[in-house]
């Protein structure tokens, strides 16, 4: 069943920058869709529109058939930075995301989530006393406390080291199994996309458009040793390469320098 439907979405900023044109993406209930693409191709813009933080210039976004006009209670988000409120303790930051729960529910869910993200003893710490990875875990817990149907993630792990990142991938999948929210996540990391997503949308810049959509045929939990995992990674990488290649001046088309961020 289609949960999230993005239809012919376009966004032109006030300064005339056309960030998105004719974006069509559908995601089913419980599906994880990763969005990949070069810098500046409108990935953050897309998520901001879905989150209701910005107004689309054209097209529609609908959740369960209902067209969105702003923020939506069923949609929650984790940003690239943790964005914890510095004046709230860890526990209160998590509870902040559960504004629609009853006070008792919120309290119970906060305690349960603190435990789930491995910060059981940290409820009364200030955000400044947490490491980057711990802060990002709190942000994930805050996004999940209100039982969102749709979770938006904008490069949430990009600032973390590979080991922490891998452990947060597992945590995310683990939490996803409880509630099965639809996840729309932006990433720069091909491996991350292949590990987490059911489908990968590759975008292309100037203006941001959908270049290619690749289903991920790797069974979950994905075993990175399997040949299919590497094959998938290579297919995604070359799709990204092509998405940029179309944009290059002729004569430079096979220049491998352009691949550098992803190789």
């Amino acid at each position: 069943m289609t949960r999230l439907a993005i239809h012919q979405l376009g966004k032109t900023y006030a300064d005339g920058t056309e960030a998105l044109r004719d974006i069509n993406i559908q995601a089913d209930t419980g599906e994880i869709v990763a969005i990949l693409g070069g810098s500046g191709c409108g990935k953050t813009t897309l998520l901001r529109l879905v989150a209701g933080l910005d107004q689309a210039s054209s097209g529609t976004i609908s959740v369960g058939g209902q067209v969105l006009t702003g923020t939506h209670p069923a949609i929650s988000a984790v940003f690239q930075e943790p964005r914890l409120l510095p004046w709230l303790t860890t526990g209160a930051n998590i509870a902040f995301g559960g504004g629609r729960l009853t006070a008792r529910d919120r309290q119970a869910r906060t305690t349960a989530l603190l435990d789930r993200v491995g910060l059981a003893g940290y409820a009364s710490r200030w955000p400044r006393e947490l490491s980057g990875g711990q802060q990002q875990r709190v942000a994930i817990a805050r996004a999940l406390i209100g039982h969102p149907e749709i979770l938006l993630l904008d490069e949430p792990f990009s600032a973390l080291d590979p080991v922490t990142r891998a452990s947060l991938h597992e945590l995310l999948l683990d939490l996803w199994r409880d509630l099965r929210p639809t996840i729309l996540m932006v990433t720069h990391d091909v491996e991350e996309a292949v590990v987490l997503a059911d489908r990968i949308v590759v975008m292309r810049p100037k203006p941001g458009r959908v270049h290619d959509v690749l289903p991920v045929d790797v069974p979950r939990p994905s075993d990175k040793a399997l040949p299919i995992f590497d094959l998938m990674k290579r297919r995604v990488t070359s799709a990204i390469d092509r998405s940029l290649a179309d944009d290059r001046p002729p004569g430079l088309k096979s220049g491998s320098l352009w691949l550098s961020p992803w190789v």
Partner: protein, 258 residues
């Protein structure tokens, strides 16, 4: 071996204590008259006399009362107007240029007009103090509201907070540190302006004591009043800091002491 050096605040006492003792000795041995610059012992004696007669308490309380009322009025007005212009663009465009223009006038320059309008009694004094407190608080609140991190506001929006809840749960706590800093600046200016106000003419208050000391040629009275001013200002500031400390314990700043 490293010498055990006493607590840092003791280091700060060395200079004033040395000067005090040197001055005391110089006057005792007849090298200086000490009439215009009385030595510590004479200051202590006058302070004691003033305190025992109850005069010092009367004057100090009068001054404190003026500062308290003026500060409260100026701080409330500055906070309210700063919140209004910070929250509403139209209000800002309408009001801020005028406030800034009035701010360009040195506040003491208002004294003659205030006396003309409000008389030489309490009202004009309190108005002057309130005006001095108003500007730093207004500016502090306005610029703090404008400086609130848009990213944190967005967190509130994503999690479905109303405009009012965002103001209360995100903007307000974010503004709090600057607000308290501006209140401290305001309080300092309040003490500055109470002197000006009391020098305008008053029958009680530490400012009156200053003027009285000058007219009677009593440098010791003047100095005692000055010292009491310093102590009261410091105590008021310390009180403000102590009251606000629990509100700011989340802060992650270089200032371990506010």
């Amino acid at each position: 071996m490293k010498l055990a050096w006493p607590a840092p605040w003791i280091t700060g006492l060395i200079l004033p204590l040395t000067l005090g003792v040197a001055w005391e000795l110089a006057v005792r041995h007849g090298m200086m008259s000490g009439r215009l610059m009385p030595p510590p012992s004479r200051l202590a004696a006058s302070a004691w006399t003033l305190a025992r007669s109850g005069d010092l308490a009367v004057h100090a309380l009068a001054t404190l009362g003026r500062v308290a009322i003026g500060f409260a009025c100026g701080a409330v007005a500055g906070t309210m107007l700063g919140m209004l212009t910070g929250a509403n663009v139209t209000a800002r465009r309408l009001l801020d240029p005028s406030v800034q223009a009035v701010r360009a006038i040195p506040s003491i320059a208002w004294v003659p007009l205030f006396i003309l309008w409000l008389g030489i009694f309490e009202t004009s004094k309190l108005t002057l103090i309130g005006l001095g407190v108003f500007f730093p608080v207004y500016l502090g609140v306005l610029s703090a509201i404008q400086g609130v991190d848009r990213k944190l506001i967005e967190v509130g929006r994503v999690f479905g907070l109303s405009v009012m809840s965002i103001a209360l749960r995100i903007t307000w706590p974010a503004v709090l540190p600057s607000w308290i800093a501006s209140l401290r600046t305001g309080l300092g200016l309040g003490f500055m302006f109470v002197v000006a106000a009391e020098l305008m003419g008053a029958s009680e208050g530490l400012g009156y004591l200053l003027l009285d000391g000058q007219q009677m040629g009593r440098a010791d009275t003047i100095l005692v009043a000055m010292i009491v001013f310093a102590l009261l200002g410091k105590a008021a500031d310390g009180l403000l800091v102590a009251v606000s400390r629990p509100l700011l314990c989340w802060q992650d700043t270089a200032r371990t002491r506010l």
